[in-house]
């Protein structure tokens, strides 16, 4: 739609970019304040001082810190993410391979969560205080209280260990004679992604429900909902077309918070299921002090959040005609 002016969008993009620069600087400081350095793993006890100096030189650690910082910032602008000492490969290659895997897992759970959550929230908010509301609401809070790795174990236990229906790890079947056609690959990935998605959405939908329920309940008292009833529309139409449509507006803002929750969740899930994405690598790289990889993963996740924020703003204006960005700005 035309409600977002180009000027506003440009401004938002600039702000997002600046936010990213600050996040990168923060990252630089944080990672370098961690005890240990990433070359520790490359130094064995038998090495001479020269050899160690040599390694330090190759990885640019002999430069003064401000120089390292500038290099880091400039390299990132040009898409040069450096080399990973632990994987001994360009970080960019690593990221390009792992990013889509995470996005698949993440996108699917985000989508499912943000469909189920508002839907359930709509019903509970509409019937707030009813027996059904009370029981479903308290159950969902119980779900929300489960540690995600624990619920994943329970799912693996039931669906893999006991029933043997679904695989519990990795993204592909691990044998060489596998027929690599587009169809089999897709089926295989779906087969492997089923349990991770189930585990993550099992608790992930609750977040958006928690936002939708009270706002839904609020709009129930609005004059336009009364009028919609008075017009003789069916209860369903009033609930969905008039009440829920308005209650959805704050949910769009809440999506960013939900995103953070989902990122946390998918990091854990990737580790439980050995899903070879960024969530798995971000933990190991931090623990192994593989700074180039850690930096890049943090950075890309931050980019994801910042982009989602922009998208949210656009969705928001679609949802609410009262908002007109960029006119009075």
């Amino acid at each position: 739609m035309t409600r977002i002016s180009g000027k506003y969008l440009a401004k938002r993009i600039v702000v997002s970019y600046l936010t990213l620069l600050v996040i990168m600087s923060l990252l630089f400081v944080l990672l370098r304040s961690m005890p240990g350095s990433f070359i520790t793993s490359m130094i064995s006890s038998g090495m001479t001082n020269e050899q160690i100096q040599q390694i330090r030189e190759t990885w640019g650690l002999n430069e003064p810190l401000w120089r390292q910082y500038i290099d880091f910032m400039i390299n990132y602008q040009t898409g040069n993410f450096g080399r990973s000492p632990t994987y001994n490969a360009p970080v960019a290659d690593l990221m390009i391979r792992r990013m889509p895997r995470t996005l698949v897992l993440f996108g699917a759970t985000f989508l499912i969560g943000f469909i189920i959550g508002p839907l359930v929230g709509m019903y509970l908010g509409w019937w707030r205080g009813s027996k059904k509301d009370k029981s479903i609401f308290s159950t969902s809070l119980l779900l929300y209280s489960m540690p995600s790795f624990w619920i994943s174990w329970l799912f693996i236990w039931v669906f893999n260990y006991e029933l043997g229906w679904l695989p519990s790890a990795y993204m592909f079947t691990q044998f060489p004679e596998f027929q690599w056609t587009a169809f089999t690959v897709m089926r295989d990935v779906l087969y492997h992604i089923a349990l991770p998605i189930m585990s993550l959405t099992f608790i992930g939908w609750v977040g958006s429900m928690l936002i939708m329920r009270p706002t839904m309940n609020q709009v129930t008292d609005e004059g336009y909902v009364f009028l919609a009833h008075a017009k003789g529309l069916s209860e369903r139409t009033v609930m969905i077309k008039h009440a829920a449509r308005n209650a959805l507006i704050p949910v769009a803002t809440g999506a960013v918070v939900g995103l953070a929750f989902l990122i946390d969740g998918s990091i854990i899930i990737e580790n439980v299921f050995n899903w070879p994405g960024m969530g798995q690598i971000i933990v190991t790289s931090v623990l192994n002090r593989d700074f180039p990889v850690a930096q890049a993963t943090f950075f890309l996740l931050a980019v994801l959040v910042v982009i989602m924020r922009l998208v949210t703003d656009v969705v928001y204006t679609y949802l609410d005609p009262r908002i007109k960005f960029g006119e009075g700005e």
Binding site: P147, F298, L301
Partner: protein, 320 residues
């Protein structure tokens, strides 16, 4: 004498007059709160956990150092190979030993470990919740009160930036920098969880600011600090309690997730560590008595905080 008596009397009177409305409000709040079954349930669960935390010895059948077959320390003998092979042992009620929820691979009683771990979760939940409220609420108040000035803008940009950092890895870095201790884990959780409080309190303050009594206080020449703390703060305090409860729940879960990733203070007893142990020792699918109790305890503790928080939210909601 007579005057003295008169004074105390009027003192007493003004005292009741001052406190009566507050008591009345409390009573009304409680009756609203107690309409929610889950609110009561949350308090009951939390009450039980508090008892476990304060006097675990009363509830636990053994100490945490108790070992199957051998009993309480000091332990002189060693386990036989056959005994070791029987570990982790499923629930046993007297034969060959008493462990109602079985043992872990080291022979410690699961029930006792679960009970003794309550204090750790409770501490982390409450401390992290309190801490993130202490950061988030004042910042939200300030940001809202100075809405649309550079102060507000600065705080909001900062919040934006913090949202850009994925919480869990950020937490891992923080904990790694400062060392893995319970205190540092609490601080790390608080550093990442105050954002929501800040945003909500800001919104609330923005709308409170427009109310007439705040306006009139301003006209009467009250200072900014006075307006914030005397007029706005009391009104947002109830919501902050809601957030405290929710943050506490989140902290309990986050701590467990950190333990799962291997970042926990292994000198303490905690449910998260119990679960980490079952994973690292490879018994996830072989010892349900070890897998389920810590997870359920975690879930109930977090849920009780959520139950209390959401029931309280209804009390603070002025709509009804």
């Amino acid at each position: 004498m007579a005057t003295g008596q008169g004074d105390t009397e009027s003192d007493g009177e003004s005292y009741t007059r001052r406190w009566e409305p507050r008591l009345e409000r409390l009573k009304r709040g409680w009756s609203r709160y107690s309409e929610h079954n889950i609110g009561i349930l949350g308090l009951v669960i939390l009450g039980i956990f508090s008892l476990w935390a304060v006097v675990p010895g009363v509830f636990a059948p053994h100490s945490t150092d108790w070992v199957a077959y051998l009993g309480e320390p000091p332990i002189e003998s060693r386990l036989t190979a056959e005994q070791v092979r029987s570990l982790p042992h499923p629930p046993a009620f007297g034969d060959p030993f008493f462990a109602p929820l079985g043992t872990n691979a080291n022979g410690n009683g699961i029930l006792s470990l679960v009970i003794y771990s309550a204090s750790n979760a409770m501490y982390i939940g409450l401390a992290a919740g309190l801490l993130s409220s202490l950061v988030g609420v004042p910042l939200g108040l300030i940001s809202g009160f100075y809405g649309d000035t550079w102060i507000d803008e600065a705080i909001q940009r900062f919040v934006d930036i913090m949202y850009g950092l994925p919480f869990l890895p950020f937490l891992i870095v923080l904990v790694a920098i400062r060392g893995i201790t319970t205190t540092n884990i609490i601080i790390g959780i608080a550093v990442t969880s105050w954002l929501n409080n800040c945003i909500t309190i800001r919104g609330e303050t923005l709308s409170l600011k427009e109310r007439s009594y705040v306006e009139s206080a301003k006209v009467a020449g009250a200072s900014d600090t006075r307006i914030i703390f005397r007029h706005i703060m009391p009104n947002v305090l109830p919501i902050s309690f809601v957030f405290l409860a929710q943050d506490a729940a989140g902290a309990v879960i986050t701590q467990a997730s950190l333990a799962y990733l291997g970042l926990a203070d292994f000198t303490a007893n905690s449910w998260g560590i119990m679960l980490e142990n079952i994973k690292s020792q490879g018994y996830i699918f072989d010892a349900w008595w070890w897998l389920l109790p810590p997870g359920i305890a975690l879930m109930l503790m977090a849920a009780s905080f959520y139950f209390i928080g959401f029931s309280m939210e209804d009390v603070t909601n002025p709509q009804r």
